[in-house]
Symmetry: C2
Subunit: 227 residues, 2 copies
């Protein structure tokens, strides 16, 4: 359960302050599928970084499964992230010197999964996202959409309860994108909590709840009529 | 005028070779607006890098304005790129330590434009793409879609004849994306040659010609009925 209470994030640039998230309150229950939409610069990635425990709010409180997150130290936050949360970054954030397979194995290394099981599972997930023939490529040897799918595969490698995906299909053609929409559908049926930032109508229409951000605040939060 | 004759690009990875562009021939006249579509991994970015003189083909010939490109050395290629071609990279390729303004000024520095004119023009282009309030931000202090628009502004800074844009709207919401579609329309009216890789229907439907790539080859090349 995700519970944000009057959370703000202010970037202090000296001469100017940017209030990227502005006194935002939000509650997401386990197993919900939520699309987050909004103009470029409206605070979506900043909000995702707060929910994903990658950044701490300037103000306000954040409870994850009833535990106040801001009282945790960096090591505890990393432990929670590694166990509970899979994060697909908008800029992929892959290790440049590691292959696709090694990138997907990384969260499992932190979780002390044995080598052979890691390789088996990483290969399986890369095949699910359509990259079975690219497991030995490093990021520079992959296309944009292929890197994006490696980032998604890595987020799923520890089978997390909560999946935060920041624009997971921006670089994908309609067929590859449709495969990812299907994958999210399966994850939702398995009871995962999905929070997906997207500009892609197909993703938004397959989520049960749609939140629109505007200037760091929630502009609308509605249940999806057509899903 | 862009004239590719039986061009191939093969990535030799030792154990396996990836033929990303496969004996492709393509002719684009000055002032055309061309959308390039195709599945993730079909060779679009590789093709753009060849057209943009950022990479040389493994095989085949490339004539740009009737000049054979492969006989040019790196310095000559860089000169042609800086003068004739504006390139919007799929991964933006911004200088991390420079502000948005300095990133847009960079091509003008190579072209020896005077400082005050550079700053005036860079500010103007950033305002056109909606980033007037973010000129002093460095890439890490910008959202994904804002970085994407800085990359587009930089590609336009030397007023190039040919604009190659690799997925210029993947990170933009519908309103910001519509602004970019309008901008491309204006550039087309000014007589620029536009080649845009996209998965975005709005961009594709506003181009006069639509090319579909599949496995490194041209699968279809049609004039757009509805533009
Ligand atoms: N340096 C490289 N070494 C080996 N293979 C590469 C290299 N760069 C690209 N490839 C492979 O070549 C193929 C074409 O890549 P390219 O980036 O041109 O595709 P794309 O059509 O732009 O895809 P996307 O829509 O996902 O951006 C891909 O399958 C990719 O894995
Ligand atoms: N480190 C930072 N320092 C200063 N300003 C920042 C920083 N990071 C983000 N911003 C600003 O905060 C605002 C919100 O950024 P954020 O990345 O959350 O937007 P977004 O909704 O994800 O946009 P997009 O759809 O373009 O990815 C933006 O206007 C951006 O310029
Ligand atoms: Mg973002
Ligand atoms: Mg590409």
């Amino acid at each position: 359960m995700i519970n944000l209470d009057q959370v703000s994030k202010v970037y202090d640039m000296g001469a100017v302050k940017v209030r990227a998230v502005d006194h935002l309150s939000l509650r997401i229950e386990p197993g919900e599928s939520v699309a987050v939409l909004g103009p470029s610069g409206s605070g979506k990635s900043t909000l995702m970084n707060l929910i994903g425990c990658l950044d701490t709010p300037t103000d306000g409180a954040y409870f994850l499964d009833n535990e106040p997150v801001q009282n945790l130290n960096r090591a505890q936050l990393a432990g929670i992230r590694n166990k509970k949360i899979g994060f697909v970054f908008q800029n992929f954030n892959l290790l440049a010197y590691a292959t696709a397979l090694e990138n997907v194995e990384l969260p499992m290394i932190y979780a002390r999964v044995a080598g052979s099981e890691r390789k088996r599972r990483a290969t399986e997930i890369l095949e699910i996202v359509g990259l079975g023939a690219r497991v030995a490529h490093r990021p520079a040897e992959l296309s944009g959409g292929e890197r994006q799918r490696v980032a998604l595969a890595r987020a799923l490698s520890n089978d997390p309860e909560i999946i935060l995906a920041d624009e997971p299909t921006g670089n994908l053609d309609s067929k590859s994108g449709a495969e990812i929409v299907k994958l999210f559908g399966r994850l939702h049926q398995e009871g995962k909590t999905l929070i997906i930032v997207t500009h892609d109508e197909r993703i938004a229409s397959n989520c049960k709840r749609v939140i629109h951000l505007l200037d760091g605040r929630i502009d609308s939060d509605t249940l999806n009529g057509n899903s």
